[in-house]
């Protein structure tokens, strides 16, 4: 057995200290140059649930990237630098600037809600650094940053689904349910709530078009302690379907007050609040039967272009490594780096931000979350991945998110039928 001696340690330390200086000055000529990828993510704060699988995904990728990625016959080492946005948009902009100016990353990435993606993308656009983001509906990403569909952005690209997919899935799910077409809307006074509740761009117009009668009493302030006025308005209107885009504590308050005041809808399909198994478990028995949008699941028939891992294996790997149930952002985190690796492999000149940006725009790969191809997006710089909808059902040893509606993406198999509440 080889012992570690003082000399080894000192030698290693010296090499470690010297390495960054050497690499920085000679990257293009080194035997194995290093390419830096910045990654901004909300590791702490209210959005931390979106980021819980980051370390697992990054660890897997570091192992995979250990052999380097080939570009124009040269092997590049990839170094991923993760920074915490603390769920705060200002902080996200700050760490993005740090990554760009101090760490001098070549590509920057970000994920989890517009609060993370938008400030990072804005910093990247100003500093002319290629940027890839995901995990935020595209309307708040594109229009929230003042995007103009005729021009688009020069360096920043995004892949996820949009509000139109939510509407198609929710209405499809409700048509499957066969209940009265009376919908109660719970929209908070925040970026998501105002987008969803917007009279023309949000839910109201398409719902009316499909014969759904929407009761929308108005915008509530997030973290409110009382929903009794909503509940009485819904009761008066004979609402059988409840929808909205809520944070988990608000939905928790609403859901127990609804029971206390004898309001029992047949279907409750709510965005954001019901994404994570932990949020459903927190609701106890009353969490079973709630429905939600599904961006990704272990049953999606996709595999990683990078490792060949199937969606199911990625989710199981996470569960067995951490002892926690799979969550939807896992697939998108992995896909984000699939795209990064693909771009690094194809770029004509990795030293040139414009060449890297052109390589991102030309992306056309099948990832673990579906196809990513920016030439096929609804607006420039945006491409969409498939969205389905489903219900939290009790499978005997816990709750499980089952896909019950797939009209928007028929290649994703359904796992069961929608069951009515109560």
């Amino acid at each position: 057995m080889k012992r570690t001696t003082r000399r080894h340690v000192l030698g290693g330390l010296a090499a470690g200290v010297a390495a960054p200086a050497i690499l920085r000055s000679t990257r293009a000529y080194a035997q194995s140059p290093t390419l830096k990828v910045g990654f901004v993510t909300p590791s702490t704060g209210p959005l931390a649930g979106f980021a819980e699988a980051d370390d697992y995904i990054l660890e897997g990728l570091r192992v995979h990237f250990a052999g380097g990625v080939e570009n124009n016959g040269k092997s590049y080492q990839i170094e991923i630098i993760k920074k915490d946005s603390q769920s705060n948009p200002n902080r996200a902009a700050e760490v993005a600037a740090e990554l760009i100016l101090d760490d001098e990353v070549d590509i920057i990435t970000a994920a989890a809600t517009p609060d993370t993606t938008n400030p990072v993308a804005d910093q990247a656009e100003i500093n002319e650094i290629p940027c890839i983001t995901t995990d935020a509906p595209w309307q708040p990403y594109f229009f929230g940053r003042g995007g103009n569909p005729a021009e688009g952005f020069a360096y920043t690209y995004h892949f996820f689904w949009g509000l139109e997919d939510i509407i198609a899935n929710f209405t499809g799910l409700w048509n499957d349910a066969g209940v009265a077409k009376k919908v109660g809307g719970l929209f908070p006074n925040d970026a998501d709530g105002n987008a969803w509740g917007h009279p023309e761009l949000g839910l109201p117009t398409p719902l009316a078009g499909q014969g759904f009668e929407l009761t929308d009493p108005g915008r509530y302030q997030p973290l409110t302690d009382d929903f009794s006025n909503y509940i009485s308005a819904f009761k008066d209107a004979g609402v059988e379907i409840v929808t909205g885009v809520m944070i988990p504590p608000d939905f928790g308050t609403f859901w127990s007050q609804a029971a206390q005041q004898g309001f029992n809808p047949k279907v409750a399909t709510v965005g954001k609040a019901l994404l994570f198994p932990s949020a459903i478990e927190a609701l106890g028995d009353r969490g079973v039967g709630l429905s939600s949008e599904i961006w990704w699941s272990p049953n999606h028939p996709f595999t990683s272009s990078l490792t060949g891992t199937s969606a199911g294996d990625l989710a199981n790997g996470y569960s067995s490594a951490t002892g926690r149930p799979w969550t939807q952002p896992i697939g998108f985190k992995h896909a984000l780096f699939e795209v990064v690796a693909d771009v690094i492999g194809r770029a004509e000149d990795l030293e040139d931000a414009d060449a890297v940006s052109a390589a991102i725009a030309a992306t056309n790969i099948s990832t673990i979350v579906g196809d990513v191809n920016w030439s096929a997006g609804p607006v420039p710089n945006v491409t969409k991945t498939p969205l389905v909808a489903g219900q939290w059902q009790d499978n005997g040893n816990g709750v499980e998110l089952v896909i019950t509606h797939n009209s928007q993406a028929p290649d994703i198999p359904v796992g069961g039928e929608l069951q009515l509440l109560g």
Binding site: D225, S228, D250, T253, S278, A279
Partner: protein, 288 residues
């Protein structure tokens, strides 16, 4: 008509919750002129302690109070004597900054131990049970919350005006130095006041945890309602705090009746009106 009555009843019950948030604040401000920015986070800490107790022992959250209350009280005493007493003086800024720091520490420690998952205390049947009072449906849990709030305020009032401990509180509140000269150890009295305040925080935390789901970051948002209830009611007056909570709750539900967007705003407006008309609050502390 019945709808407006319903909104008022719901508002009164909501006021009970706000009064519970506020009672601890009112108490420590009354005794030691300390504004505790970490109050909301301490409520969430208590909710998490309740969660750990219910999960480990398999008991109902109300029974968990038997463990969480003494724990929080002990924590309060240690906190006051170990940290906050060092900061109290003529300047009100140091305690403010220290409790602000405490708030950040508590949030991040909770995130580290419990992750960002939203959690809820399993209250069982009482969570969804309701009573029909002539057309107005009232949840049993909010009713219970209001009852507990009244009992807590009455209990605090009794301690304040009928016990030797309360005499100590009032003495240091009136004049710290003279109370010290009369043989009261003000460091100890302050510690006891904080212990009592955090015992009330434990009750508020458990009730909040049964009412809605909570996560480590949610505490700060609860602080503002507590402050407003205290100030509407009049600083240092316990029954005033209850009245302040009820006024705030009713203003909110009536505002929401007009438009849900006005819910929180209506509460803040009620608060501003009281501040403008009676800057000392509706029932300022009686001078002894």
């Amino acid at each position: 008509m019945i709808e407006w009555t319903g909104a008022i009843v719901q508002g009164v019950l909501l006021g009970g919750l706000y009064a519970l948030f506020a009672a601890g604040l009112s108490l420590i401000f009354g005794v030691m002129r300390l504004v505790n920015i970490a109050h909301g986070d301490l409520i969430i800490l208590a909710a998490y302690m309740g969660l750990t107790t219910t999960v480990m022992l398999g008991v109902h959250p109300f029974l968990a109070l038997l463990i969480v209350m003494p724990l929080m009280a002990g924590l309060g005493y240690a906190l006051q004597r170990g940290v906050l007493n060092q900061t109290l003086g003529d300047d009100i800024l140091p305690p403010l900054l220290v409790t602000f720091g405490l708030s950040v520490i508590i949030q991040n420690a909770l995130l580290e131990f419990y992750t960002a998952d939203p959690r809820k205390l399993p209250g069982g049947a009482v969570e969804t049970a309701s009573l029909d009072l002539g057309g107005i449906t009232v949840g049993v849990l909010p009713l219970l919350t209001f009852g507990i709030a009244v009992a807590v305020i009455a209990g605090l009032q009794f301690v304040f005006y009928r016990t030797s401990l309360g005499r100590g509180f009032r003495a240091v509140s009136d004049n710290q130095d003279i109370a010290q000269l009369m043989g009261l150890n003000k460091a100890h009295v302050f510690g006891l006041a904080m212990a009592l305040a955090l015992a009330v925080v434990a009750i508020a935390g458990i009730l909040l945890g049964m009412r809605t789901s909570f996560d480590p970051a949610i505490g700060g948002g609860r602080l503002i309602f507590g402050f407003e209830a205290v100030i509407i009611g009049g600083l240092g007056n316990l029954w005033g705090t209850l009245a302040g909570g009820v006024i705030l709750g009713v203003a909110q539900t009536l505002g929401a009746k007009i438009d849900p967007g006005y819910q929180i705003l209506a509460g803040h407006i009620a608060f501003l009106i009281v501040l403008a008309v009676r800057p000392n609050g509706l029932f300022p502390r009686v001078e002894h």
